[in-house]
């Protein structure tokens, strides 16, 4: 059963990843991206990491996807004429992607990883353990992360506001 689940999730994830890049409507692309990220959360559940999976869903589907789709609605180009990618670039992109895939595939095929398996006996990682790791050994990282998040929100807000309009509105 787990196999069927895995195959289904793989198809869902990869398929919607392709749709997210290739769909004609940007909005459908956004939705497909959300579905793809949801599929990755499904992988996390299969890999016995439910906390990370829920984190993934809460952050990516609950927040990032909403932001992305909101932005898509905001910036939907008024132009009816859309530029298409040149064929050259497309071919180059596909070739590059396939080359990378072949490289990684051969690497995986030739390394020990392909023979390794998940052990069934090991206990599942508990959430408490994650919390403990987070707060003891990785606590400096937490602080740095706080600075990163704080910087990002302030930066994002400073970027997104419409100062040009403010200047326009001010009486000369």
């Amino acid at each position: 059963m787990a196999d069927a689940l895995f195959v289904g999730l793989s198809i869902l994830t990869v398929g919607s990843a392709i749709i997210s890049l290739e769909s004609r409507e940007l909005l459908y692309g956004g939705i497909a991206l959300a579905v793809s990220l949801l599929g990755i959360a499904g992988f996390f559940i299969i890999l016995d990491a439910p906390f990370v999976a829920m984190f993934q869903i809460a952050v990516y589907v609950g927040a990032v996807a909403v932001l992305v789709i909101f932005t898509v609605m905001l910036v939907r180009s008024p132009n009816t004429v859309t530029k298409r990618e040149t064929v050259k670039r497309k071919v180059a992109g596909i070739a590059l992607g396939l080359a990378f895939l072949a490289l990684i595939g051969s690497l995986i095929g030739n390394s020990v990883i392909s023979q390794l398996g998940f052990s069934d006996t090991v206990p599942v990682v508990e959430i408490k353990e994650i919390g403990r790791e987070l707060l003891t050994y990785y606590s400096p990282v937490l602080i740095v992360l706080a600075f990163t998040l704080a910087g990002s929100i302030i930066g994002a807000l400073a970027l997104a506001r419409r100062e040009d309009i403010e200047e326009k509105n001010e009486p000369a």
Binding site: G29, G30, F44, G97, F100, I108, L116, L145
Partner: protein, 100 residues
């Protein structure tokens, strides 16, 4: 099926889709999509290895990684919004003055 290598292959496929997107697409939002796909594929690899070893530190790492990429999306979309406001377009080739 269902061995670490399978997860790695799925991740590799996702990464190559992301690379394709970065190379081909000129739409700023699609570029962000591609970056997100790559970041998530990497997360998947980390979690798969964490499950294989088994070691909770991998999951902690992924938590950090997700947090960082959320912040990155916030900033990236902020940049995109302001660029859109200037150029009325989300095509990155139009953003000529950003180079200077």
């Amino acid at each position: 099926m269902n061995q670490p290598s399978d997860f790695l292959i799925v991740a590799a496929v996702l990464i190559s889709i992301g690379i394709y997107g970065i190379v081909v697409k000129r739409n700023a939002l699609r570029l962000i999509f591609s970056i997100e796909l790559i970041a998530n594929a990497v997360n998947l690899v980390i979690v798969a290895f964490s499950r294989m070893l088994p070691n909770p530190q991998g999951q902690v790492f992924v938590l950090f990684s997700i947090a960082i990429s959320a912040a990155e999306v916030a900033v990236g979309l902020g940049i995109m919004i302001i660029a859109y406001r200037f150029y009325k377009d989300i095509d990155v080739t139009e953003y000529k003055n950003l180079k200077n």
